[in-house]
C-alpha cells in the first residue's frame, strides 16, 4: 500500500473571469520511505500539490488517500490532527515564531498537541542535540543564522515523528554551503525511513532525489518512476 495515493485530483482557482487549473487530473502514488523531488517552472502547480499533500488545501475533485485512508473527506479538525501527527512541514522562509526561543519553536507542535511538558522537554533536548543546536536553545530566531533557523525548522517538523516531510524550497533562502548542510540533514531523515517530498527550483538538488517529478500547467510532465 502506497503512503500517498492521488487519483484524478483537480484544483481550480478563480482569477477574475478566468479559471486557472492549478492541478488537472493528477494521479500519483508515493510509497513510504521514498525521496521525491517536485520540479517545474513557476505556476506549474508544485506548491498547490504540496499544500494538498499537507492537507492545507482541498482538491475540487479527486481523492487523496494517506496511509490508505481517504483524507479529503475529513473535517477540518480531523485534518488538523493528521497534520499534527503524520506530516511535518519545512518552509523556504523557515516560518519560526519570532518571539519564541529555538527550543520553544521546536516544541510548538507538541505544545499544540497537548503533550505534557516533561515529555516535551525530553524530546526537545534530544532534538537540540541531534541537530547540533544545544547551545542555541535559548536564542530567538533573529539571533540565529539562516542555516541554524532551518535546522530549528527541521527539528520542529520531525519532533512529532511524522511519516511524511514536505519541504517547500528548503534551501531557497540559504547560501550554497548551508543549503548543502540542510539537504544532508533531510536526506539523513529520509534514510531513517521518513518519506520526503521536496519542491525545488534547483536542478542540482532535484537530481539528488531518487525520484523526480516534473510538472507543467498542473500536470505531471515526467516521472522518473512508472507513475503514468
Amino acid at each position: 500500500m502506497p503512503l500517498i495515493e492521488l487519483s484524478g485530483i483537480e484544483r481550480r482557482f478563480q482569477l477574475g473571469d478566468t479559471t486557472v487549473h492549478a492541478l488537472a487530473g493528477l494521479d500519483l502514488a508515493i510509497a513510504a520511505g521514498e525521496y521525491v523531488a517536485v520540479m517545474g517552472p513557476s505556476g506549474s502547480g508544485k506548491s498547490t500539490l504540496l499544500n494538498l499533500l499537507g492537507l492545507l488545501d482541498r482538491p475540487d475533485a479527486g481523492s487523496y488517500r494517506l496511509e490508505g485512508r481517504d483524507v479529503t473527506t475529513l473535517s477540518p479538525d480531523e485534518q488538523a490532527t493528521v497534520r499534527s501527527t503524520r506530516i511535518g512541514f519545512v518552509f523556504q522562509s523557515f516560518h519560526l515564531v519570532p518571539r519564541l526561543t529555538a527550543a520553544e519553536n521546536i516544541a510548538l507542535p507538541m505544545t499544540l498537541a497537548g503533550i505534557a511538558p516533561a515529555e516535551r522537554n525530553r524530546r526537545v533536548a534530544q532534538a537540540l542535540k541531534d541537530f547540533g543546536l544545544d547551545r542555541r536553545a535559548d536564542h530567538r530566531p533573529d539571533q540565529l543564522s539562516g542555516g541554524q533557523r532551518q535546522r530549528v525548522a527541521i527539528a520542529r517538523a520531525t519532533i512529532m515523528q511524522p511519516a511524511l516531510i514536505l519541504a517547500d524550497e528548503p534551501t531557497g533562502n540559504l547560501d550554497r554551503h548551508t543549503g548543502e548542510e540542510v539537504v544532508n540533514l533531510l536526506e539523513a531523515l529520509n534514510a531513517s525511513g521518513v518519506t520526503l517530498v521536496v519542491v525545488t527550483h534547483d536542478p542540482g538538488m532535484g537530481a539528488r532525489a531518487r525520484r523526480q517529478l516534473v510538472m507543467e500547467d498542473g500536470r505531471l510532465q515526467s516521472d522518473t518512476q512508472g507513475g503514468r
Binding site: 479538525d77 497534520r83 505544545t111 499544540l112 520542529r156
Partner: protein
C-alpha cells in the same frame, strides 16, 4: 493545547508588542478607574449629604412658615394670600402633643459680638434650652440656655468654638460679659467644635434665648420650629399632630409646611443614588470604548500574525486552539487593564480622601463589581470576533503572508 500553554502563549504574544498592549491595557484601566472614582464621588456625595442631615438631630420634624405645596381650592386662600407667621406661642402649643418629646422654636439673624475691643460678625440663633439636645449639640464648657419661661429671655449666650477662640483667645469665656447688638449678655457655655451643620456653621454661631433674639431683631416671628418625635415610629404621628394643631391655631388655614428629616433624607438618598448610577453609566461608556480598543488591537494582531496563524494550522492547531489562544490574549488585556484600573481607582479615591477628609469617597461595592465585570465581559465579547477571524483564516493564504 493545554490551558497553561494557551495562557503562556497568549501572554508571550501580548508582551511581544509591548506598546500596543500597554496602550490597550491603559485604556481599559482608565475605564475601570473612571467607574471607581466617579461612583466614589457620587456615593460620597450621597453619604456626605445624608450624614449632614442625620447630624441635624434624630427623629426630627421641622415646621416652616408658608405653604410650599400646591393644594386644592381653599376658601381661606381666597381671602388671604400672605401666610401667617409662626410665633413662639405656636411652638409652645406643640409641646403638649402626645407624639412629641421636645420642641424648640428657632429664630435667626445676623449681628455682631464685641468683647475687649474685638468685634466680629456672627449668626445669632434664638431658641430655648431644648435646642441643644434636639440638634445633638454638645457643650465643651459651661451649660446650655437656662430652663425658663420662653417669654423671659435671660441675658445669656452660648457661643461657638471658633468665636470663643477669636474673641477670648486663651482666656476663660464662660462667665464673661459680651455685647451682642445693643445687649450685654453673659456667656454661659461654649459649644464643642463640629464644623458641620448644613448652612449653619455651628462654630460661628451664638445661641441666645428666643425672646431675647426676637427683641434684638425686633420681630415676633419664628424661622423654624424644630420638633423631636418620641421615636422613629412616632415621626409621622408627630408631623400630623403638629400640622393639625397649627391649622387649628391659624383658623383652619394650612399655611405651614411640615417636613420630616426622614422624608428629606429619603429624597436626597434617592436623588444622589440616581446621580451615582448616572455617572456609573457615563463611566461605563469609557469601558465600552476600551472594549472596542481591545478588539481593534486584537484585529491588528490577527492581521500582523497571519503568517504565524498559518504556521500554527500547518503544525496541527485546530480552529478551536487558535480561537482560544486569541480569546485568552484579549481576556488577558482586559483583565490586566481591569485590575490595574481598580488599583488606580482605589489610589485616586484614597488621594481624594486625603485631600478632603470630610468627604467619604468610597466606591460602592456594586460599582466595583459591575466595573470589573463589564471590563472583563467587553474584553471577551470584543475578543470573539478577532479570534474567530483568526481561526477561519485559510492556511495556504496565511502562510504566503510573511
Amino acid at each position: 493545547m493545554r490551558l497553561a500553554d494557551t495562557l503562556r502563549f497568549a501572554r508571550d504574544a501580548a508582551t511581544g508588542t509591548p506598546l500596543r498592549t500597554a496602550l490597550s491595557v491603559l485604556a481599559m484601566s482608565i475605564g475601570v478607574a473612571a467607574v471607581v472614582i466617579l461612583t466614589a464621588l457620587g456615593d460620597g456625595a450621597r453619604r456626605y449629604v445624608v450624614g449632614q442631615f442625620s447630624s441635624l438631630g434624630t427623629n426630627l420634624v421641622i415646621v416652616l412658615p408658608g405653604r410650599s405645596g400646591t393644594g386644592g381650592f381653599n376658601p381661606a386662600n381666597a381671602i388671604t394670600s400672605t401666610p401667617r407667621d409662626l410665633t413662639v406661642d405656636d411652638a409652645a402649643s406643640l409641646r403638649r402633643l402626645s407624639a412629641v418629646r421636645r420642641v424648640a422654636p428657632l429664630t435667626v439673624g445676623t449681628s455682631e459680638i464685641a468683647h475687649g475691643g474685638k468685634l466680629r460678625e456672627i449668626m445669632v440663633a434664638g431658641s430655648t434650652a431644648e435646642f441643644l439636645p434636639i440638634r445633638n449639640f454638645e457643650l465643651a464648657q459651661g451649660s446650655g440656655l437656662p430652663e425658663e419661661d420662653w417669654s423671659r429671655g435671660s441675658p445669656v449666650a452660648v457661643i461657638g468654638a471658633k468665636i470663643r477662640d477669636e474673641i477670648f483667645g486663651s482666656q476663660t469665656a464662660v462667665g464673661q460679659l459680651v455685647r451682642i447688638g445693643d445687649r450685654r449678655l453673659r456667656v454661659v457655655g461654649v459649644l464643642r467644635p463640629s464644623g458641620q451643620g448644613l448652612g449653619m456653621n455651628t462654630d460661628e454661631l451664638v445661641i441666645v434665648p428666643v425672646a431675647l433674639a426676637q427683641s434684638l431683631f425686633n420681630t415676633n416671628t419664628l424661622f423654624r420650629i424644630l420638633i423631636e418625635a418620641n421615636s422613629r415610629e412616632a415621626i409621622e404621628q408627630a408631623r400630623d399632630q403638629a400640622l393639625a394643631t397649627l391649622k387649628q391655631r391659624h383658623r383652619g388655614e394650612e399655611d405651614v409646611t411640615v417636613i420630616t428629616q426622614d422624608a428629606v433624607l429619603a429624597t436626597f438618598d434617592k436623588l444622589l443614588g440616581a446621580l451615582t448610577l448616572a455617572v456609573a453609566g457615563i463611566a461605563a461608556i469609557s469601558l465600552a470604548v476600551a472594549g472596542i480598543l481591545v478588539m481593534n488591537v486584537m484585529l491588528v494582531a490577527v492581521t500582523q500574525r497571519t503568517g504565524e496563524i498559518g504556521l500554527l494550522k500547518a503544525l496541527g492547531a485546530t480552529a478551536r486552539t487558535i480561537r482560544l489562544a486569541f480569546l485568552a490574549e484579549a481576556a488577558m488585556l482586559s483583565a490586566v487593564g481591569a485590575l490595574l484600573g481598580y488599583l488606580l481607582g482605589q489610589a485616586g479615591v484614597f488621594a481624594l480622601r486625603q485631600f478632603f477628609p470630610v468627604f467619604p469617597a468610597y466606591p460602592p461595592d456594586w460599582a466595583v463589581i459591575a466595573g470589573l465585570g463589564t471590563a472583563l465581559a467587553t474584553g471577551l465579547i470584543f475578543g470573539v470576533m478577532p479570534a474567530r477571524r483568526a481561526a477561519r483564516l485559510d492556511p495556504v493564504q496565511a502562510l504566503m503572508k510573511r
